[in-house]
Amino acid sequence: MDATITLYLLAIYIHILATVLWVGYSLFWTVLIGPLGRTVAPQQADHLLGLLRRALWPPMAIPVAYRLTLPGFGWVTLAILGLTGTLIALIGGIALPQYRRLFAIKLGLVFVLVLCHYWIAQRPTPKRIYLTMIVTLCVVGTSALLVR
């Protein structure tokens, strides 16, 4: 395999790993926000969400200045997805017209996803979180069709 193909496969691999982590991130908020609203008083729920949004990852091993908040983790994952996605499109190409249309739909959904994440980073509310999860699944579904 030549260097371009190796780079292409590596970009796909990192793209899939970042996708998996992003889905995990969206799923985490989706799973948490329901019971938080039902079982905890609103003021206490806001306090817990505040603690969570300020918590740093990883909690050890690297200097505090380089650690990420949870929304920061989401931004880094989205940035990796954008970079590797661009690389995959540049090397692999979007040759067929029907793929171009699908690709445009995917880009539109990704734009909505970035907006959703901006809203979650500002203030995670159930509507914003559920919308993010739905858009995430739509992006994964569109990507599955693009692969074939």
């Binding site: 496969l9 691999y13 799923l27 948490l32 019971p35 990852w57 909690p59 949870l70 579904g141």
Partner: protein
């Protein structure tokens, strides 16, 4: 869109949700919530986010079902597997490696599940990472398969 496309979409959904849950909870949620002060708040957040822990078996079932359809679509039959003929080409050999790792993850799911097992969960995550890498090779390595 046909059955094959539907299987690819469902396969990716199952992978993303199951591994996303496994990776994000093991690598991010666990370590982060254990360091939140006061510890009771971290414990509360861990418990509240601990639902949906039973994703493993349904995801595995869906992955095996959709994976079987996808392999059949590529012309592989039960006879190919029974006779070992599928090992005669690179695609089949990579598939065999993937299936061995999947079997390992099924054993993990069956024997360990959600019980604390710090070393085994690392092995399970490594197996999942290798499965993803092999899947990329199977689907996207041009000219190799």
């Amino acid at each position: 869109m046909n059955w094959y496309h539907l299987c690819v979409i469902l396969h990716l959904f199952a992978v993303a949700l199951w591994l996303g849950h496994m990776f994000f909870w093991s690598i991010v949620v666990g370590p982060v919530t254990k360091r939140i002060e006061p510890p009771e708040a971290g414990q509360a957040l861990r418990q509240l986010s601990g639902r949906w822990g039973g994703l493993g078996w349904p995801a595995l079932a869906l992955l095996i079902l959709t994976g079987s359809v996808m392999v059949a679509y590529r012309g592989m039959t039960v006879q190919h597997f029974a006779s070992g003929e599928f090992l005669s080409n690179p695609f089949g050999r990579v598939l065999a490696m993937k299936l061995v790792l999947v079997a390992g993850m099924i054993v993990y799911q069956w024997r360990v599940g959600h019980r604390p097992a710090p070393r085994l969960i690392v092995a399970n995550i490594i197996a999942a990472l290798l499965i993803l890498a092999l899947s990329v090779l199977m689907v996207r390595a041009p000219g190799v398969f």
